[in-house]
Structure formats: structure tokens, C-alpha cells
Symmetry: C2
Subunit: 631 residues, 2 copies
């Protein structure tokens, strides 16, 4: 029987429930060389003096200071040279009154000596030493314990061990360090349809690669835990049950990410209820509503994450990572959040807290702009389009353009891209972007590129084909352009002997795959259809109706060609470069210009400048691979 949780918990209740779980592992001892980044479990007091002896701090001569009183350039004193002592050696000579012993920096002061005369103030002459300066007791001597004295507090519990603390522990001779344990976090994947990366995928059976296991494992590592991936049980529910029990025994915390099958949830319920306790099921937050929190058996905490990757990472970052860091004794990294201002107005009114995925972009003045990323929570790519989340309280109906927000980054290592481009996808562009450090490019088509350039979100838009007057309406600077050959991608050898657009219209047996209407290829194809209609004295609509699949618009530039390659269509809209690279045939319908347009206020941004440089110096290598021709 499933326990009933009639009301969703608030985000605060969820945080409290997770905080109430005990993830803290036992302290352990590690070798000094493995201690960097760890957190001291207890206070370390110095057990010895550093240095352990009165130490010469300059090269020179160890003397009794009293013997040098009154010495100066005019009236030096002369001492008998009694021997020498070097660093790392035990003195085999004492400094008796009237004598001096040669000494090197770091060496032990010989018995009797209380000061060092630096070598520059002396002269050796016939086996004796002439001293031109007087010294006081203690001059150029570092007494034992000056650095750290035995008994002193060296480092406190909770200290994070950076190189300098490693240095202090070295100085104290500590080679085994008592540190906080790192919580072991088990990750159990529960979707029937999931396949581990590297294994063979059967998309026809609805299989997809398991994104959450490795993503969450990386997040666990970053938060200071040790991830432990359990094998994937697929639809073997008995095995899933065994895995959950094993994980509960072996880990401080077990995470699973949502399953689309009710059976898997039932198994989780059974294991949680039998040996542990369910603290909450469901949180009033979007995404993350189905979150489960409880204990699995005696030793382990349990959190069930949502299944969609962005949602899973969002809930992990918001609720789970802080708990792992706490258990590991680590502070939240200072770079885990950034402040920014909303680039657009964003409405929202669902009455529950929203963890809104957002992207970051710097404006021309270096200020951070924040824009919502929303391809729906199922989109894996929003993982890479989004830099973090903004927590919008349940009672906030909208965020105004220009409003200040705090972005919780998905990782402290996430940085805003140095270039944000939106627009047409193109193989030459893809290679040009390799020459820009840290670019983000959203291949949403020419129209969307122009829209986001106009809204001052994108730094650059990449626009192909005839966009009517849309380009002129926008205040933009052209960074560069090239041309590309477009047309119909057909099977190798062109078995249907397609010679042009007319065949698509006239041959009822030919099936076609188009691009979506944001694509500049689709725009020019539409214009070509219109021209043909004009030539034939008919309507554009008439011709479009006659092309089977004209409305099958795909979002990505290789998709029509790949449909042809896979035998799912007879022709597809695409580029010659794509046909060539996939070994397919090609029927040219024309050439089109691709232009890179920049927001004039951002042309000095590093990423924009380096894209401009890449455009200016693009070479034959790119042309050969991509059909790129300078426009």
C-alpha cells in the first residue's frame, strides 16, 4: 500500500526533511599526499618545535655576540676560526670565547654561539676571521620554535586543506591526516527504457541513453561525495529491489531518478516502507513535484529525483548537493551563485515555487543578463543551454525585464559563455565556432536568431536565405558572410532520377522531408515553390499540397538527409556539404548567403571579436569540408 501524502510539501519542508537525514560518514585517516581538498576532523596541535633547533638564518660566522662589541670598519675584531657547520649536519665544534665557526643558512647554531655575523661583514685572513661589525645576541638566528612551537594550536577542526595547510602539516611531520569522511552516494537508475552510454541503443524500441546516472554522479563528486553507480536493472523489478537494498547497506545516501513505470515506484515504496521511512512524497515546486524523501533501512538516507535530466539536476542542485556538502564539511563554493538582471519579462503563475532554468550572457558593459531556457523539461540540450536556475517564489506572478535575480549555477565551474549566438545551423559555422573560446550557439533557425538579436539576448544572429525586410529592421553589424549550396538530398546515385523541385511536385511516389519554418533553407525552398507556381500559373498552396511531406519540418539541418540515408524518405531539404559528408546524392536548387549579424553594443566582447577574426581568416580547410564560399 502506498502511503498517502495528500498535500504537497513546501520547498522549505523538503529542505528540512533532507536536513533531518543523517548522511555524515565516519571520519577517516588519509595520507598527507591525498589530503588536499579534504576537511580536518580534529584539531592538530604542534608536537614539535619548528625549527627544532636554533638556526642560522644567513650565511656567515657563528660567534659570541659579546666578542664583537665595538667592531667596525676602522677597528675590526679578529677571532680564531674553529671550524664549520653546514645545514643538515650536527655541529662537531663549539664556539668558545674569542672564536668563530663558519655557518651556512639553515645550519644548527653550535654550542656557545648566540649570533651570526653575515659573511659580507667579515674577511678570512690567515686562518682567522676579521669581523667588521658588531652583532647583538640573536642577530641572524632563528630560535627553535619560532615558526611553530610545540604545543601550539596549528589547525582547527573543519579546516579545508589547501596547499598552504598541507605545507604546515608537512612542517609538523604529519603524514597521516584525520579528515571528515566523504559521504558515499549510491545512484540507482530505474527507467525500463534506459541504456548505459557505450552500450547499443535500440531507438525503435524506445530506448534512450541514461543521462541522469552520470550527470548526478558528477554532481555528487563536485559536492564532495563519492558516487557509486549501481547496475541498471531495466524491467527486472526483483533485481531493482535487490539493488536498492544493497545500495542502502553500502551508502550514506541513495538517489534514484524517476521512472515512467508505476511498477518501479511501487518497488521503491516497498523497500522504503519495509526497512525505512518515507518522510515526504511530492513537493510544491516546478519541476520536482514527484520528489521522494525518506530512509532506506537503518544506514541510508534516500531521495527520489525526477526523471527528466534538467529537472533531476535542478532538484539535485537545490536540495541534495547542499546536504552532501554539509555531510562532507564543505562550504558552498563562492562561485555557486551569480547575480544578474532579467533580459526579458517572464510570466509565471502556477501557485508553486518555480525553479526556472536560465542561461547567462554578458551585455556590452560586462553586466550579466539572465534569460529563461525552456524547451520543456524533457530537453536534454537545455542542460547545456542553461547555466543554472532562478528560484521564483510561488506568489510571484512575473519577473520584469531588468529585475535583479540570483542564479544558482548548476556547477561552481559553470561560467557564462563568451559568445551567445542564435540562428541558422551550418557546418562551416560549426567549425568557425571551434576558434572561439567558450561559445554557446543555439541552432534555432534564422528567424529565431533575428528575434533574439532584436530582444538583445543574443550577441550574434546567423541568418541564411531571404528574410524579407526582417534583417533591415534590426540594428546590427555584419561580422562576415559566406555562401552555401542548398537543394535536395537524395539517395546515393539518385535512383529516382530527381532533377529538381518539379519532380517532387509531379511524382506522387516521392516522399520528402522538410526543415521547420525557422530555417533559412525552408524560406528559400518556399520562395522556389512560389516561383514554380508562378511559372505554372498556379498557387503556391497547390504545389505544397502536392509534395508529400512538405509539412514534415525537422529542426536540425542534417535530419532530412539522415531520413533519406535511413530510407525513410526519397528526398530531403539540405546542403551539398551534408550530402557529401553522408555519402548521399544531391540536386542543387541554388546558393544562399549566410550572414553573421552582431548586436552593435557587443562588438567588443571577446567572443564576438574572435568570431569576427575567425570569419576574416577562415581558410580552404573549412571550405573543403563544408562547401563554405566567401560571399
Amino acid at each position: 500500500m502506498r502511503k498517502q501524502f495528500r498535500d504537497l510539501a513546501s520547498p522549505e519542508e523538503a529542505r528540512e526533511a533532507i536536513a533531518s537525514l543523517d548522511l555524515t560518514p565516519d571520519a577517516e585517516t588519509v595520507a598527507l599526499e591525498d589530503a588536499r581538498g579534504r576537511v580536518l576532523a580534529e584539531r592538530i596541535d604542534a608536537e614539535l618545535d619548528v625549527p627544532g633547533f636554533d638556526r642560522a638564518s644567513m650565511d656567515g660566522y657563528a660567534v659570541r655576540a659579546r666578542d664583537t662589541f665595538g667592531a667596525n670598519e676602522a677597528e675590526p675584531v679578529e677571532l680564531d676560526l674553529a671550524g664549520a657547520v653546514h645545514a643538515g649536519n650536527e655541529p662537531d665544534v663549539a664556539v668558545d670565547p674569542g672564536t668563530a665557526v663558519e655557518i651556512s643558512t639553515g645550519a644548527v647554531m653550535p654550542p656557545g654561539a648566540d649570533a651570526v655575523v653575515i659573511v659580507e661583514r667579515t674577511e678570512e685572513r690567515d686562518g682567522s676571521l676579521v669581523v667588521y661589525s658588531s652583532v647583538a645576541p640573536g642577530d641572524s638566528v632563528m630560535p627553535a620554535g619560532t615558526d611553530i612551537a610545540a604545543g601550539a594550536r596549528a589547525l582547527g577542526p573543519g579546516t579545508r586543506l589547501t596547499p598552504r595547510e598541507i605545507g604546515l602539516l608537512s612542517a609538523l611531520g604529519v603524514d597521516e591526516v584525520p579528515v571528515r569522511g566523504t559521504p558515499t552516494v549510491g545512484i540507482v537508475s530505474t527507467g525500463d527504457e534506459l541504456v548505459r552510454p557505450g552500450e547499443e541503443l535500440r531507438p525503435e524500441a524506445g530506448e534512450i541513453y541514461d543521462v541522469n546516472s552520470y550527470t548526478i554522479a558528477a554532481g555528487v563528486e563536485e559536492a564532495g561525495g563519492v558516487p557509486k553507480l549501481y547496475p541498471h536493472a531495466g524491467d527486472d523489478y526483483e533485481e531493482l529491489e535487490r539493488l536498492l537494498r544493497r545500495a542502502a547497506d553500502e551508502c550514506d545516501l541513495v538517489l534514484s531518478s524517476g521512472s515512467t513505470s508505476a511498477s518501479a515506484v511501487d518497488v521503491i515504496y516497498r523497500v522504503v516502507e519495509e526497512r525505512g521511512e518515507l518522510l515526504l512524497h511530492g513537493v510544491s515546486v516546478k519541476p520536482g513535484k514527484p520528489m521522494l524523501v525518506g530512509t532506506l533501512g537503518e544506514g541510508s538516507a534516500y531521495v527520489g529525483l525526477p526523471g527528466y535530466p534538467v529537472s533531476a539536476l535542478t532538484i539535485f542542485r537545490t536540495f541534495v548537493a547542499p546536504a552532501i556538502r554539509d555531510a562532507a564539511g564543505l562550504p558552498e563554493p563562492r562561485t555557486a551563485t551569480v547575480e544578474g538582471t532579467m533580459a526579458t519579462r517572464e510570466r509565471y503563475a502556477e501557485g508553486r515555487t518555480r525553479l526556472m532554468p536560465v542561461g547567462l550572457v554578458a551585455d556590452g558593459d560586462g553586466k550579466t543578463l539572465v534569460y529563461p531556457v525552456d524547451k520543456g523539461s524533457g530537453a536534454t540540450t537545455s542542460l547545456v543551454e542553461a547555466d543554472g536556475v532562478v528560484e521564483v517564489p510561488a506568489d510571484v506572478e512575473y519577473l520584469a525585464e531588468g529585475e535583479s535575480v540570483t542564479v544558482h549555477l548548476f556547477s561552481p565551474d559553470v561560467r557564462a559563455p563568451e559568445l551567445l549566438g542564435v540562428g541558422e545551423d551550418d557546418p562551416a559555422l560549426s567549425r568557425l565556432l571551434d576558434r572561439v573560446s567558450s561559445p554557446r550557439y543555439l541552432p534555432f533557425g534564422s528567424r529565431e536568431g533575428l528575434r533574439r538579436l532584436r530582444d538583445e539576448i543574443a550577441d550574434v544572429a546567423v541568418v541564411a536565405g531571404d528574410q524579407g525586410g526582417a534583417v533591415e529592421e534590426i540594428d546590427a553589424v555584419e561580422l562576415g558572410s559566406w555562401t552555401r549550396e542548398w537543394g535536395l538530398v537524395v539517395p546515393d546515385g539518385n535512383p529516382d532520377e530527381v532533377s529538381g523541385l518539379a519532380d517532387l511536385v509531379d511524382d506522387d511516389d516521392l516522399s520528402f522531408v522538410n526543415r521547420d519554418s525557422n530555417s533559412g533553407l525552408r524560406t528559400d525552398l518556399g520562395n522556389a515553390v512560389a516561383a514554380l507556381a508562378n511559372e505554372r500559373g498556379t498557387t503556391r498552396h497547390e504545389l505544397v499540397e502536392a509534395i508529400e511531406g512538405f509539412d514534415r519540418g525537422t529542426k536540425a539541418f542534417e535530419s532530412p538527409a539522415r531520413a533519406v540515408a535511413a530510407g525513410r524518405a526519397d528526398a530531403g531539404l539540405g546542403l551539398r556539404a551534408t550530402a557529401d559528408s553522408l555519402g548521399l546524392g544531391f540536386v542543387s536548387l541554388g546558393k544562399q548567403r549566410v550572414a553573421v549579424l552582431a548586436n552593435p553594443a557587443r562588438i567588443d566582447k571577446l567572443g564576438v571579436a574572435s568570431l569576427r577574426d575567425a570569419l576574416a581568416t577562415s581558410d580552404d580547410a573549412i571550405a573543403g569540408l563544408t562547401g563554405f564560399e566567401r560571399a
Copy 2:
């Protein structure tokens, strides 16, 4: 023959020389689960569509949209139920006109279907489906390739792999990732007097623990390199030569830290000159003047660091870590520098660039104050007292109080302490500090504590003994206080039958070890001597002269007791708690009050507040261990 470098290189020339060395290792391939934090070596294009099939995005029924046209609550349409398809299964049924197939989120759309009606808008009745809403083609369906389409640019070269990029690679099924190599950095230690932590130390022979090897190894790791420690050759110069050659063969970069022996430098010169090239010797920077830069053989770069730990870490952080990060493809962490203002005026005029070690402290408003840390570059503890360095150009004569400076932190993980205390050392205090998160305590004595509290550097001063009017002159709030018993620490059983101060004066055979004049113990001892002089009708000076060793002032609170324990003295100034913990005898001379005084502007700082709490709740456990008594 040593090559002559008559002029010191400038810091810029040193940077250029190091930049000219090639440390970049070959790219390599790592498993996805080990890829977090690494840097992509090449562009990754999607080789498959994600999802790989048209996917139901809601639970419901797959239909032909056309069949639902016109359906509403009042006039539903009825379709035949033809079967079901679940996530992870291949559809074994098609959707023919007039039929519907049950479908779960994530499942493959069956042939014929072009939309999903969500379950909430339907009702199953007698084996057929009643549909209460019309749907359009594509509703609740995510077409193949929506997330990422085959052929699309997924990640560019140089991308740092955080959890979200690991997620994208997972989605693409990539389980082996081409990444930039991590430079291997060999560390060869060259001082004759050095002993590795964990090994036995002979301080009488001038041995000290090797601080630099592990410190620099930790720094290498933090900068993205792989450190490789070579065994310590001691004074075996042939072995040192062999180690240097081996390191040159095995590493991209070899580091050694300064040796006090000319012989070791000669060996390094020989190996560098024979198979490599010396680019520079000596940089016009303090510390770091003796830096060496060159190549060792064909494969390896070489940098010789200074020997003192703070100097070695400073030069490593300033010149070497950036080169390692470059070679690894990593950016400088954003937390590697902080801005602050000078807490004091600092003069400097040596005509070369100074890398000044500094500590950080937040003032009452949370602003970062920067103060110089200078116990001399030999002091290992300044490793822990200093948070980083300020680079002061050669032509700057002083930094004014309040001047803005940039601090280059020793590690991106370094944070300013939450409490900065200066003053008396005390075993109860040491335990109280365990209850404060991230404290820094400088046990420089009561006088120095009061000085730094007055200068508004310290948050709190800890003051013991009679400080005359010094306490009253400072604007401070007392957070709490306790008393401690002080006196003479003598060997166990008190063999010389010392009964008090008079015995020290009167017995010529008794040797004594004192504390330095910053200590509150020394102050009260001085007062006790004055009182005795008064009683005897003589002068304080007279009595002091009669105590052998009165002027031997040690800096740390256990040092006199440890001198007694080691048989180096017959009596030492100290606390009963210290005598007890070291198993020594004790002759009480009195009790003194220890007070914790805070800067009134900083009493709300987290660290100050938690020290106050610790003082208020300090318990018998501390009292039992340390002789702590509430004052």
C-alpha cells in the same frame, strides 16, 4: 662552469620565459565517469538523434489527430482501442484510422499516430475510447531529434566538463571522451637537511621536514596537473643527478626548490646545461630572486623555486601555476583573486617587485581588509597566516592605509577567516576556538594583541596578566574571561625542591627559561620579581641579573616547560595545565585573568559571535583539560 646572468630578469621576462616552455601533454581518452573537470580536446558532434524516435511526452492515447477533429465535452468522439505501448518497448500495434493506442510517457509513437490525447481528456468505456478534446498533429509528441539532432554541434573543443556536459555526453551515448592531457609535474627536493614527513627527524643535526614537496604537489594538483614526487636524494649528488634526468624523461615540467648547498645548485646546472638550456637565473622580485627557468633535456621544462616555503608557494602561484593551467586548458578560477583595502600603511622601497604575503579579515561591514604578514620568509606559519600575495611594482614606495589592492590567493579555496584573533596563547582558548568556524588565531602575546586590536586589524585580542593602563586606552568590548594558574614548571617530583621565585634568585645552579616580553605570563613574572625586590629592599634589575636565563624569552607557551622536560633547564615559566599535560612538576606563583576583548564594530561578525557563545557555554570538559576557571 655556471652560465653568467649578470642582470636579474624582470617579472615580465620571467613570465615570458615560462610561457615559452612547452608543457602541453598529448590529448587522451578517458571514460565518461572520469571526465568531470577535464577539458574537451575536440569538438563533439551528435552522431544520433535524441530522442531517437518520435516520443510521447505525456501519458494518454496515441491517435491520428484528424480522427479527433471537432471533439469536445458535449460531443466526444469514440475510437477503437487497438492496444498499448510502454516506454522501452517496440510498438507491436499501429494506429489505423478510427483507432487509438494507450501510450505512456517516453514510449515510441506507434505507426500511423501523429498526436497524443492526454489521459485526463479521455475515458475508457467497454473497450473503446471516448475522447473529449481534439488534438492537432504533433500535440504531446516530441519528434526524434528535438533534443539534439544527429549532425549538430554538441560541445566545442576547450569545453570544461561539468555535470551538465557529462549529461549531454551521456545522452549522445558517448562513454569515452577525448580530453586535453594533464601535465605531469615532477618535484625533486634538493636540501641536504630535508626529511620527508612521517620519517624520523634529528633536529640536533639540523634536520627539518620537507615542506615544499607536498605543498607544491598540492598546488600542482589544484592547477590541473599531476604531481610526481621523486625520492629525496639528501646529500648524494650523483643520485640527485640521476633523479633529475629521470624526472626530465618522465615529466612535462620538473620543479625543484632551492637548496642551501652550492653543490646541489651545481648539479642542477650540470643537468640543465648538458641536455637542455638555461633561460634565466634570477628575477628582480622579492621573494624569488634565485628563480631558475630552463629546459631539462628534450621533453621537459624546468623551474627552480626558492627554498623558503612561503617564497616557493608565492613563486609557484605567481609564475608556475598559470603555466600549468594553460597547458591543461583550464581558466584561472574566478576565486583566485579578491579585492580589498590595506588595513595599514606599508612602506617598501627596494627597487624590485615585491610579492607581499598578506592576510585577509572582514571589517564590521563585511569589507575585506588586507594586512601584511611578515615573520620573515623563513616562517612556515606565515603559510597559514597569509591568504595570498599582493604584487607591489618596483616603483611603488608605499601602500597607503585604505588603498585598494588585488590579492592573489594561494588557492582558489582560500577564504578569509571568520574570526581573526591575536594575543595570548592559552590551552583553554585553543579548545574554545574549536567551536568557531574558520578562526585564525595569532598567538603573538597580549601586547601584540592589544596593538592589533587598536590598529583595527584583529577582531579580538586575548589579554592575560596586568597590562597596566593599556587595556583601558582601547575601545573594546569584553566577550568573556577566565583565570589560569601560572608559575614555575619544574621536573617531575621537583628534584631541586624549588618552592618559589626566591629560589631562582638565590640558587646559582638553577637555570631558567622565560617567555618573551609580549606574553602576559612574562608581565606578571616581572611584577612578581619587582615585588620580591621591594620586599628585599633591592632593585628589580639586581634580581633579574641573578636569575640565569631570565632573558631567554621563548615565544610559545609550552616552550619553557618543554625545555625543562628535555633537561635543558631546571625551571620554566608556564601554566599548571601545561605542567600537568607534560607530566612535570609545578610551583604556583599565582592566578591571572585572561580576557577576550573585541572590536566593538565587529561584534556582529559570525566568528566573533560564535566565540562569545563558546565563552558563555564553556564547560567542565574544557576546565578539566586546561585549568580554565570562570573569572
